[in-house]
């Protein structure tokens, strides 16, 4: 391990969707559903963009710190100059999440916390044995559970790999409409399952873990998203309103998501023309401010359709600072 001081630290988080989560693309599409969710443009696997997380975390942190609504949102003041981000050196919201203006001057601050996209780590699928949580090598590499150089492709592409212990000895298993041969001879799986458990993911999930190829994972996820159909009710008739039927999709309840927060050292920044950041003193302090939003995330949720039972996410584990050495200063 390098003894050099770090300019930042990266902390890992994982969470389980308590409700379906819908982070929409902002428009309707021709296709299977009307209102689609955000996907990775290449893998086509749904994700929650870092910009969505940053905004939600900011709002909830502002609530926790009693800085809502002024220090949440875009932060533009009213025409009379009232409101907007306070931009104070001792404001935990404005220093950690940035602000759009300085006090009595132009300029701003980019913020000390950077949020990665939330990626699907484990995806729940119905099977004849009940729900199974599926992942793939690409998802594992993105989380840092396995280094890209260490985790290659699966030996066979059209097979479901499961653990030997606790798994019922079935030669094949259906994952939604896909019927796959089951094998238990993929060696890295034991270690991967252990690392997933260390993230704080409950045993009822890790005991039903399965790994498929990257290519199959895309199909399994996209074939098993929750799709709802809604219609507006005409209050005059109490019946469905004409032409108001629409469908929307969401990540299903039980999906395990993984993301990282990179926290910069506050000592390396000055705001408002030369003031030191006073609200936080270290990357760990930045993380502590961000985690204030987690209880709100579990109750108020993320994404759209929050008034229809969607969006709640329970954050499972906060990696301790000493364990979270992903600062790019690894031993060579």
């Amino acid at each position: 391990m390098s003894a050099e001081p770090r300019s930042y630290e990266t902390f890992s988080f994982s969470g389980v969707a308590l409700d379906p989560i819908h982070v929409g693309t902002g428009g309707t599409r021709l296709g299977r559903v009307d209102n689609t969710i955000v996907r990775d443009p290449v893998t086509r696997i749904p994700k929650i963009p870092g910009s969505s997380i940053a905004g939600v975390m900011r709002a909830y942190t502002a609530m926790a710190k009693e800085k809502y609504p002024n220090c949440a949102g875009l932060g533009q003041p009213e025409r009379d100059g009232a409101g907007g981000h306070c931009g104070s050196a001792d404001c935990p919201v404005c220093t950690v999440f940035g602000f759009a203006k300085g006090i009595g001057s132009s300029g701003g601050f980019a913020g000390l916390a950077a949020f990665s996209d939330m990626h699907v780590l484990l995806f729940p699928v119905a099977s004849q044995l009940g729900p199974q949580w599926i992942t793939c090598p690409m998802a594992l590499r993105q989380t840092g559970i396995a280094k890209p150089s260490e985790l290659g492709d699966l030996p066979e592409q059209q097979v479901l790999y499961r653990k030997t212990d606790g798994a019922e000895a079935l030669p094949s298993l259906n994952l939604g409409w896909l019927f796959l041969q089951v094998k238990t001879d993929w060696q890295p799986l034991e270690e991967i399952a252990q690392k997933i458990e260390e993230l704080g993911i409950p045993g009822y999930i890790t005991s039903r873990l399965g790994v498929v190829s990257d290519k199959l994972f895309t199909h399994i996820v996209n074939s098993n998203l929750e799709v709802r159909t809604s219609v507006a009710i005409d209050p005059a008739t109490g019946a469905a309103k004409k032409r108001a039927l629409f469908t929307y999709e969401a990540l299903p309840r039980g999906t395990v998501l993984f993301w990282e927060v990179t926290c910069r050292n506050p000592k390396h920044f000055k705001i408002n023309g030369g003031n030191k950041v006073e609200a936080v003193g270290s990357p760990g302090g930045v993380r502590d401010v961000v985690t204030k939003a987690h209880p709100y995330l579990e109750h108020l949720g993320i994404g759209g359709m929050g008034s229809r039972g969607m969006g709640r996410l329970r954050v499972l584990e906060t990696t301790k600072p000493d364990d979270a050495d992903k600062s790019g200063k690894e031993d060579k």
């Binding site: 001081p5 290449v42 910009s51 999440f97």
Partner: protein, 298 residues
């Protein structure tokens, strides 16, 4: 011969989408499909200043000047791994317009096809905290380089997007600081997780004494590349009266710490000349034409 400059080849892997902005088009925040030298200089300056300064406030300006003096960067171009080789895609203006070439000119893609393989976009809107709904007038789309290549026929496996470029070091200065950098944050929207790149392997000296397959000059005040294609932004000058040029021009501008950086009219990467010339890489990352009769000497 005792060379002034050491050329190192470096390869980076995108850990997240990358956004290097150019002036937007309406609600679309457009992105460059490469990383300019000046952007890279800023990212390297920030990282070296912070990691070598412990818990005290770094002197960014001083360290930045030192790096400008001691290091010169080529642009980082998107690359992909094929077998043991890392092959960069570089721009080239041809009769059909801007194209991207790879594998020593054996493969070409139109700019449209190349961008389809490399880039994506993501929508976004601000949420008004008082109403908890989309804030009026804030819907926009941000273009970015994907961490994964789209395959050309949607059948093959996707591969990671790499960035390949070179850095010149004067008398090997800053070598240890550069070797210590494994992760960099480049470009914009880094608080949304964008721009995180990690180094693949160690820095390798350009063993065949070439940069992007072109001969280099390492014994001058500024490092030079002999090429008939410009892979940076090249300053205008008298040289352009003497040859045929295929390319496009761009006015570059930006900010230095606390003050505007006066841009200059330049020829954009991919500009093609009828005759090969020696180009020096200047402190700001510009490419500057070296007149055959008045080449700078140490």
């Amino acid at each position: 011969m005792n060379m002034t400059w050491t050329a190192l080849r470096w390869v980076w892997r995108l850990e997240a989408p990358l956004f290097v902005g150019i002036p937007p088009a309406g609600a679309l925040n457009r992105c460059r499909p490469y990383v300019p030298a000046r952007t890279l200089w800023g990212a390297v300056t920030a990282e070296i200043s912070r990691s070598s300064n412990g818990d005290s406030f770094p002197d960014y300006r001083k360290r930045g000047e030192e790096i400008r003096e001691q290091c010169r960067f080529t642009y980082l171009f998107p690359a992909e791994k094929r077998g043991d080789k890392v092959l960069a895609w570089r721009p080239l203006f041809r009769k059909k317009g801007l194209q991207w070439c790879c594998n020593g000119g054996e493969e070409y893609l139109s700019d449209r096809d190349f961008r389809r393989r490399l880039m994506g976009s993501r929508p976004g809107t601000a949420i008004a905290p008082e109403s908890y709904s989309a804030s009026e007038g804030t819907l926009r789309e941000t273009e970015c380089i994907n961490p994964w290549w789209r395959d050309s026929n949607c059948q093959e496996e996707t591969s990671a997007v790499l960035l390949l470029g070179y850095v010149f070091l004067r008398k090997n200065g800053f070598r240890s600081q550069l070797d210590n950098i494994d992760t960099l944050f480049v470009g914009g929207d880094t608080r949304y997780g964008h721009g995180r790149i990690s180094r693949v392997g160690g820095h390798k000296e350009a063993g065949d004494v070439s940069v992007f397959g072109k001969p280099i000059h390492r014994d001058r005040e500024n490092p030079g590349i002999q090429s008939d294609i410009i892979w940076g932004h090249a300053l205008e000058g008298d040289w352009q009266k003497k040859q045929m040029i295929q390319g496009e021009q761009e006015l570059l501008g930006g900010w230095n710490q606390g003050s505007p950086w006066r841009g200059k009219l330049t020829w954009a990467p991919g500009t093609f000349l009828t005759e090969s010339a020696v180009w020096s890489i200047e402190k700001d990352g510009y490419w500057k034409h070296q007149d055959k009769n008045r080449r700078e000497r140490k």
